[in-house]
């Protein structure tokens, strides 16, 4: 499994003198700021991708930017890899410890430094939870738009590192669209501010480059986010379809009609029946697929747009359309969607969540192909995803207690991601590459791109100490991974049209 780092395919470092490293770090970190025993470090073994585990060398828990800076400078000096970690909710193994690394937890950077309702910004430390920002902004009628499913627990620093999305990013954008400025500490110990209180900053857009850089370029110690006015009103439609294809066509038709819903989510039968059993959301369990389409804005406009969405869905063959009659029913419709992941527990002991994106118009083709791959690999797949922006979340159901099933799920997941690339999409829409998709990077990008990514990393981190073995594969890994695929025969998914 990929949680084992391979000296032939991943970066390697000479093990430091641990006693000396501890002594140097202790000089800057207060008593409880450094964990050194296996028992204390156990909780840092894995992130949200719990199947991948590894032990760090040490865990550093700084409280101040100056302490982060000291840790980085000491590690740079001694050649020790550093893995930064937020709340540890990431789903791609981005915070998986590299063997012998200093795991740098930002969990103690948990203060909201200020909400400025006139500037419509919130200045926060990276360990602040995503939802806490919207809660702090709510008294001013404002909110922070990106809303990953883990928003109760995930931290804003991790959101920036992953360029997190969510249900509402179809209309309101990803993390990168909702940032005002970021404070970053480099491995050399420079504290730099990217972006600023003005609408733009001089020079290259380094804030955009840092967003989604998965802890490979620097450590984020402060974030200022943009806040938006809360919408006056929101309504949600549930539309049921007799085939996944009809549902997929309705998604494309809604966008083609010039409507940008606040959320446009799709669930297939396996997912919606499990969700229904789990939270009793009122979903029609005989449907092959359902769409949830949320519109927000002025009341009169919602009514008019909702009428158009309904007629588009009916034209696409909807067997049922139901607008939530009140706020309680709207919450109920969404509870099913939000409860879909935990509901998988009813179907199998474990599930593996995939995160590919595809052009919307290929939705039906790709879902049919996933069903075929599911049969071929012998593992069921439930689909629940952000249909509006083509961001699939196939959930592969397996049982980790059965020998080999985890590896089987990993192989099926890889095949699904390569399918996404083959139709012109991407191996990750919002979860990041992390450790999980390191091989599939070689499917999405060629050698020149991988080289330039490595060179960008080197511009910030010449020794390659920040989060090694993640996000950007070595060329050796791509050579190995590519060879494996050539061996299997022709181009993958030759029977599908390419872009």
């Amino acid at each position: 499994m990929l949680d084992r780092f391979d000296p032939a395919l991943d970066p390697t470092f000479v093990a430091p003198d641990r006693t000396r490293l501890i002594a140097r770090l202790k000089a800057f970190l207060p008593n409880d700021g450094l964990l050194t025993t296996p028992e204390a470090m156990k909780v840092y073994e894995s992130d949200g991708l719990a199947a991948y585990r590894g032990m760090p060398g040490l865990v550093a828990l700084p409280r101040k930017t100056a302490e982060v800076r000291a840790v980085l400078m000491i590690c740079a000096d001694m050649g020790v890899p550093v893995v930064a970690r937020g709340a540890g909710t990431g789903l791609s193994g981005g915070a998986l410890p590299f063997p012998g690394c200093v795991l740098l937890s930002l969990s103690r950077f948990n203060q909201i430094l200020g909400v400025d309702p006139d500037a419509m910004t919130a200045r926060v430390q990276p360990g602040v939870r995503n939802l806490a920002i919207s809660e702090a902004a709510a008294p001013f009628g404002l909110f922070y738009a990106p809303d990953p499913s883990s928003q109760l627990a995930c931290s804003i620093g991790g959101n920036v590192a992953e360029n997190a999305g969510g249900v509402h990013c179809l209309k309101y954008g990803l993390t990168v669209h909702n940032l005002q400025s970021v404070e970053l500490v480099t491995l050399e110990g420079e504290i730099i501010t990217l972006g600023g209180p003005a609408p733009d900053a001089p020079g290259f857009d380094l804030m955009a480059l840092i967003t989604g850089s998965e802890g490979l370029l620097g450590v984020i110690t402060e974030v200022t986010v943009k806040l938006l006015p809360q919408p006056v009103h929101a309504r949600v439609l549930l539309a049921a379809f007799a085939s996944v294809r009809a549902g997929g066509e309705a998604v494309a038709a809604i966008i083609a009609a010039g409507i940008i819903p606040a959320g446009l989510e799709m669930m297939d039968n396996l997912a919606l029946t499990a969700a229904e059993a789990h939270v009793h959301a009122g979903y029609p369990t005989d449907a092959a697929a359902i769409l949830l389409c949320e519109l927000d804005g002025a009341t009169a406009d919602i009514d008019e747009e909702m009428a158009r969405v309904i007629s588009v869905c009916e034209a696409a063959g909807a067997t049922q359309t139901r607008v939530a009659c009140d706020e309680a029913e709207r919450a109920q419709f969404w509870a099913g969607r939000k409860g879909a992941f935990p509901a998988m527990g009813r179907l199998a002991p474990d599930y593996y969540c995939i995160d590919g994106t595809i052009p919307r118009r290929r939705l039906a083709d790709v879902l049919e192909e996933i069903a075929r791959l599911s049969r071929e690999h012998g593992l069921p797949v439930a689909n629940v995803f952000h249909a509006g922006d083509g961001n699939l979340h196939p959930l592969i159901l397996y049982d980790a207690r059965v020998d080999g099933q985890m590896e089987q799920a990993e192989t099926l997941g890889g095949a699904i991601l390569e399918l996404c690339v083959a139709v012109g999409g991407s191996i990750t829409g919002e979860h990041g590459v992390g450790r999980e998709k390191i091989n599939q990077m070689c499917a999405q990008f060629g050698t020149p791109e991988i080289e330039i990514f490595a060179a960008i990393k080197a511009a910030f981190d010449p020794a390659g100490l920040l989060n090694p073995g993640k996000a950007i594969p070595t060329l050796a890994r791509c050579a190995e991974f590519g060879a494996m695929h050539v061996h299997k025969g022709a181009v993958p998914f030759a029977h599908l049209d390419r872009l």
Partner: protein, 357 residues
């Protein structure tokens, strides 16, 4: 470049790559040119011209995907006309300084129009690019899907990089549906009363898509669904006004914006009036301020920096004059290393942004 192909679609990526490779081998600096309509922007250059104008044509446009991919030399007016046939547009409303202006130039300069504070900037809508690095290697960064977090966002980095990191070959942009209703209002308010009103307005979920103060009046534009626009217009009051001046603002045809020496100050919207003598036009609800002044450049920059912003000598910089506000040394060092990453020989638009790049 052969001029005979300049008016029709053509893929000349290979010959552009050859030209860059040759320049790299001979260490010949190049000035990348699309329509050359924004020659005035950035530090002046007399380097050999690499024209991208003949690399032109829309590669893919699928309205239901809200994405268009076009070669860098495609005229921006052609792209906007094509989008309009399907009721779509570029949300960031780039200024267009002439019919030759290209999509590559729009992305490279990163200039956005009046809708920017409400809809986003160029960098927010770039989904992917193909770019030639300084050795003539073709790099495909990003893609054509809205959500894509694989690899570093090198494509977003190209927006506003003034071509200093490579030669754009094609760009994929997210497009948006045109609003169903659009309406302009004008209010008789001085600048500070206008700023106070705006602070309250933008905090509410109103369909404001533009807000500029021309020195005498506050001008507002509303865009969106019919009912929301009508309701907002009733609430805000003022007089109905023509939409024409919004085009003039966008394309910088208003008299003040045509001044031979023009400053652009990007500052926090809430910064208040700045102590610089001259003629002002406040756009972006006060976050982008145009200034025609006799004040010294250092003074203009110092005032902008003091409130957390920066000043650009947008037009009319002398041969040795800085155009952009200088970067703190650690940030400049990162810029230089990134420049060297993409363009080790330093031949692609050297010095166009900063003397040191």
């Amino acid at each position: 470049m052969p001029t005979s192909t300049a008016c029709r679609d053509a893929d000349v990526a290979e010959s552009l790559a050859d030209a860059v490779r040759r320049a790299s081998e001979t260490h010949t600096p190049l000035r990348i040119v699309g329509g050359d309509s924004k020659r005035f922007f950035g530090r002046p250059s007399t380097d050999d011209v690499l024209s991208v104008a003949s690399h032109r044509g829309v590669i893919a446009y699928e309205p239901t995907e809200l994405v268009i991919t076009a070669r860098a030399g495609t005229p921006i007016v052609d792209i906007e006309a094509l989008l309009a046939t399907r009721g779509q547009m570029l949300a960031f409303e780039p200024p267009v300084f002439g019919p030759t202006s290209t999509i590559g130039g729009v992305v490279a300069t990163g200039l956005s129009g009046p809708r920017r504070p409400f809809a986003g900037a160029v960098r927010d809508f770039v989904l992917g690019v193909t770019v030639l690095d300084g050795q003539g290697r073709s790099l495909r960064l990003g893609g054509t899907v809205v959500k894509n977090v694989a690899g570093f966002d090198g494509f977003r980095l190209m927006a506003g990089a003034l071509g200093c990191l490579g030669v754009l070959l094609d760009v994929s942009l997210r497009v948006v549906p045109k609003p169903r209703a659009e309406r302009a209002l004008s209010l008789q308010l001085d600048n500070s009363a206008s700023a106070t009103l705006l602070t309250g307005l933008v905090r509410r979920p109103l369909p404001v898509s533009g807000a500029f103060h021309d020195g005498a009046r506050l001008n507002l534009r509303l865009s969106g669904a019919d009912a929301a626009v009508a309701q907002a217009a009733r609430e805000i009051g003022g007089e109905d006004a023509p939409l024409g001046p919004w085009d003039d603002l966008r394309h910088m045809r208003l008299p003040l914006l045509s001044a031979p020496r023009l400053w652009r100050l990007a500052v926090p919207r809430t910064a208040g009036d700045l102590t610089l003598e001259g003629r002002w036009l406040h756009d972006w609800a006060g976050a982008q301020r145009w200034l025609v002044t006799d004040e010294l450049a250092d003074q203009v920059r110092a005032v902008a920096v003091a409130v957390g912003g920066h000043a650009t000598l947008f037009r009319g910089a002398g041969p040795d004059e800085a155009v952009f506000t200088s970067l703190p040394p650690p940030l400049l060092a990162l810029h230089q290393r990134l420049k060297a990453t993409f363009d080790p020989a330093g031949i692609i638009n050297p010095g166009r942004m900063y003397k040191e790049l």
